[in-house]
Amino acid sequence: RCHLTGSTAASPTSIDPEHRTAVALPVAAIKSLLGVIQRSKATTMMGLQEDLRGATEEMMTFATESPGSLQLLGGRSHIALASGCELFMKYVTRAFLELPDFAACIAQVLERGERFAGISLAARDRIAEVGQAFIQDGQTVLTHGWSRVVSNLLVKAAEHRHFSIVVLEGRPDAAGAKAAKVYADAGIPTTVVLDSAMACAMESADLVIVGAEGVVENGGIVNKMGTYGLGIAARELGKPFYVAAESYKFARLYPLNQSDLPPMGPAAKLNFVDTASWEMTGGLVGKAKAPVNTDKDGKVDASSVPGVVQFKPNQIKVKNPPCDYTPAKYITLLFTDLGVLTPSAVSDELIRLYQ
């Protein structure tokens, strides 16, 4: 558990200037699983798998249902967490098939596992390396959501080329605002637009790059709400749509449509506010026009901010799923640590990984 909460160093409330080294949640989970292996008293592969499965379930429950889960997942889905753990379990099983001697197998798994965090960071660099070539001088890149993979790619590309970025604001967690700060600090000309301006902004964009919470079996992706619309607009206007994602995000899911996604835990509460976006914990990103009241926990009382609309309890229904599903046909290419893949190649990789 401390591994998981420790990774909130890159939590929504602060822009970590060393965001580059912040550990992704799935990587922290894998470290926890390695710890489980080290402490496990199992003497057979079956026993060890039991321990690992139990630990994974506990982690998933903690991540999706515990009170702090909103902060932990940052309003995103647990898909990458689940797929990362499942791939790790598969890897452990396969290592055992190659090295039937239990003790030797465990030693190898631990040794390789230690390198996994490093591999994950290296994955981001590899993705930046392969993706850079697709951005040319003078182009405008449209992006959505906050993704360390994408920001690494764009910041690295800016070292060699001149281009500008348009960021969607990213309600309700102001993900776009966070991303815009990072790009502006890196010296890239950045513009922020409303989420609803995505189709309009598409006209003057040259390409779209987004990250992914999970890459599903048919080559589609699950990502922050709004990505699906972006994909449709891009295809309609003939702009390439690229996804940057590490291969541990390849999940064994096969969504048929939006309603076929797995449940994603508690939805963030929507505050209807007239000013700039609010973060889910109540911190301020934009400026309030008048002094605001805070309660004893330091949380801002939304009703004290001008322009706020307040409803009576149960007066209306609010739906705020964190993620949507973008089918493969809207995706041009995926930049992964396995190289540049077409959406149909994702399934081929998954067949091989889960053989």
Binding site: E217, N218, Y254, L256, N257, S344, S347, D348, I351
Partner: protein
């Protein structure tokens, strides 16, 4: 004969029946040097007399393959009915099994091993595969679904019955779409209704009405899966898939891996099979002998007493020089119409069939 008359229909049924027949052939097999009675073997191989000569190097595998199995298959294919892809793949498996036998095995051992191998094939590649497909499909059926299927597919029937048992007969509805001249859907809808599932039965011409208003998912069977992901299935399937696609309704094709063909087919006509053109021309509604129907009688005063079919105006099509009647049995649904293919390995996108083929047959990769 059951093949030719159409009593045995459907990819799975035909493959099972063929393998069962071959098991019998193998049990009845006697080597050529055996004195006297080869009549059993001769009869099952379609009346072809066994070769009289006995070569010095008698190899049971060679004999079995060349004298019995291959001629039998050829006879069925040319005299009775062209083989389906499922039969073809099963036959290839059988030949490989024969070739893989140890050459020093005794006759009794050979027979036992082959019979066991055939049983294992049927059990794993058809029975267990259908169970696995049913389980994967069940994860895609949710309460309130309106599921559409076409014709009569063995595996779709299995998965719908299983889902009804597991989730309750009230959790979803089924619409069965049927078409002339085979009207295979009637048997399916009868069995599903008997199982307590709420069913609707329509003909193909009513498809757009239900598709736009009610259907949430489409489950289809397949006769074969081409390596580019296109689906060979009962004629009419392509239309159902197209209609679903254009209404954004997911189309799931259920197909066991033994039906995957390494052919690529670009259109529906090549390699298709033709049925009896007279079936198309006649009025199918009189088939059950429900005589006295007024639609058929009409102005020309022909009565429909008993089981007599009403003659249609083009029933003399053979005498008309520029008129042809076409009764195709299969059509090809392009991969773009298919949202996912459910095999025993899981749900795959249509583009991954080639990879599956490669993984299953590593010995064929160059």
């Amino acid at each position: 004969m059951q093949y030719a008359s159409g009593t045995v229909r459907g990819g799975n049924a035909r493959a099972r029946a063929m393998l069962r027949a071959f098991k019998q052939v193998i049990r009845d097999y006697e080597p050529p040097a055996a004195a006297g009675n080869n009549s059993n073997a001769a009869a099952s191989s379609g009346g072809r007399p066994p070769a009289a000569s006995r070569s010095q190097k008698y190899d049971i595998r060679h004999d079995l393959d060349h004298r019995i199995i291959k001629p039998a298959f050829q006879y069925w294919t040319t005299q009775c009915r062209p083989h389906s892809v499922s039969m073809g793949n099963a036959f290839t498996f059988l030949k490989l099994a024969v070739a893989a036998l140890d050459r020093d095995m005794s006759l009794a051992e050979v027979q036992e091993v082959l019979v066991e191998t055939i049983d294992a094939y049927i059990h794993e590649r058809i029975d267990l595969a259908d169970e696995a497909i049913s389980k994967h499909a069940s994860s895609k059926i949710v309460a309130g679904d309106v599921i559409l299927t076409y014709g009569c597919s063995n595996v779709v029937e299995v998965l719908l019955s299983d889902a009804a048992r597991e989730k309750g007969v009230d959790s979803f509805r089924v619409i069965v779409v049927d078409s002339r001249p085979l009207l295979e859907g009637r048997a399916l809808v009868g069995r599903l209704a008997e199982a307590g599932i709420e069913c609707t039965y329509i003909l193909l011409n009513a498809l757009s009405y239900v598709m736009m208003r009610e259907v949430t998912k489409v489950f289809l069977g397949a006769s074969a899966l081409m390596s580019d992901g296109s689906v060979l299935s009962r004629v009419g399937t392509a239309g159902v898939a197209l209609m679903a696609r254009s209404n954004n309704i997911p189309v799931l094709v259920c197909c066991e891996t033994y039906k995957i063909s390494n052919r690529v087919q670009l259109e529906s006509i090549t390699g298709n099979e033709m049925g009896n053109p007279d079936d198309v021309v006649s009025d199918g509604c009189a088939m059950d002998g429900a005589g006295g129907s007024s639609e058929g009688g009409g102005d020309d005063g022909s009565s429909s007493g008993g089981a007599q079919q009403t003659k249609s105006i083009i029933s003399n099509w053979r005498t008309v020089p520029n008129l042809k009647v076409l009764n195709l049995l299969y059509d090809l649904s392009p991969a773009e119409f298919v949202s996912g293919i459910i095999t025993e390995m899981g749900i795959l996108p249509a583009t991954s069939v080639a990879v599956l083929l490669r993984e299953m047959n590593p010995q064929d990769t160059n």
